[in-house]
């Protein structure tokens, strides 16, 4: 007979071996590349609204004027349509929360059936998702559109604190340049833009930032609406 101790030690050795196992060489990179391609294709073809919202949040609206803002908000919420994992007969071995997660949860404000114990479980809080960042920048854009650059600046400060830079830091900076300019602080905007241009020559937003260098006043907002990203496909 073996003792429980021996069995436990044997099992621990097996677990240790399993922990040491690694994916095939390059599997992670391949997954990233494929995921990237899929994220782009999926975003453009099936998710035009979200992509349009992304473009707006990026500050595309800035250079073309903010008239579009007043026409109505663009939804940045997740669309509720399941992608392709939903099956007619869901496997009975799938846990409830997992199934719910795979269907993608509704926007954060709505209650979820399993939320009670999920919240108690107090999972560690990771960095905000891109969706959160977009929502925050959307609020900035809305404030700008409503002619409230001070509020936009306050929201941008909050964004900077909550994301510590975030994935959309450059986009936030361009929004800040616009907010500063509209708040009559064109000199600050110009200085900030100069610094950004000098430090981020490779940024895709460098041209947009450069437009604020030495510009004391906001451009007239009679330009046509920005072209939504969905039309590019």
């Amino acid at each position: 007979m073996t003792s429980e101790k021996d069995d436990d030690a044997a099992l621990r050795a097996l677990y240790a071996a399993a922990k040491r196992e690694r994916p095939s060489a390059g599997a992670r990179e391949r997954a990233f590349e494929r995921a990237l391609g899929s994220g782009r294709a999926g975003g453009r073809r099936r998710n035009g609204v979200v992509v349009a919202a992304l473009a707006v949040a990026a500050g595309v609206a800035l250079t073309a004027g903010l008239s579009a803002v007043r026409r109505g908000p663009v939804s940045v919420g997740p669309e509720p349509v399941p992608v392709r994992l939903t099956r007619a007969n869901p496997s009975p071995d799938l846990p409830r929360a997992a199934s719910a997660a795979a269907r993608v949860s509704p926007p954060a404000s709505s209650a979820e059936p399993s939320a009670a114990h999920v919240e108690k479980a107090a999972a560690p809080a990771p960095a905000p998702t891109l969706g959160d960042e977009i929502a925050q920048l959307q609020a900035v854009r809305t404030a700008l559109g409503a002619g409230d650059p001070k509020r936009a600046l306050a929201l941008l400060d909050r964004y900077a604190r909550s994301t510590r830079g975030g994935s959309l830091g450059d986009e936030a900076l361009v929004l800040r340049l616009d907010a500063l300019t509209r708040a009559g602080r064109g000199a600050e905007a110009s200085a900030l833009a100069s610094r950004f241009v000098a430090n981020n020559p490779g940024s895709p937003l460098v041209d947009r930032a450069r437009a604020f260098v030495g510009v004391p006043k906001p451009a007239a907002s009679t330009a046509p609406s920005p072209t939504p990203a969905e039309k590019t496909e």
Partner: protein, 187 residues
Amino acid sequence: MSGHDAGESPLQSANDRAIRRLVEEHFDFIWRLVRRLGLSVSDADDATQEVFIVAARRITSIESGRERTFLYGTALRVLANARRGARRRREQPGTELAELAASARGPDELLDDERARTRLDALLAELPLELRRVVVLAELEELSVPEIATLEGLPLGTAASRLRRARERLRELAAEATEKGREASDA
């Protein structure tokens, strides 16, 4: 390189960074999960890739703080599909244990990692799926019971009792396998 176009939308590149972060933080977790839930190395590579393709499509709608839960749920669905699609090996109950016994000729024998993993998989294969998942999360990913409960959508007590049952069962199976191995080497 990932081939960024000069004219690419800045938000697109932010999107790419978010996908990159998701892959970097969770790829190994998902891979080990599907691997221990029954896929071969190459099938695990493929399944994990599929999980992240799905996640990338939904990158802007994954709730803050629920990335792992989203990926976990997606992985289980991908896994279920992979199982259904796989050539159905009609395994008789006990077959894997018998193989395991045959491969474990001496309790003191030092197993290399490959053999250890084969043994582990044989033991895990004897567990019902719901027990298998919790023990993999606890022992290999070193997740706490509350974390497991979150991923599985279970009350804490249920998660704890499943984990307890899984560990008891694995211990019994390990003892059984060792006995069989000993009998085989005595014969």
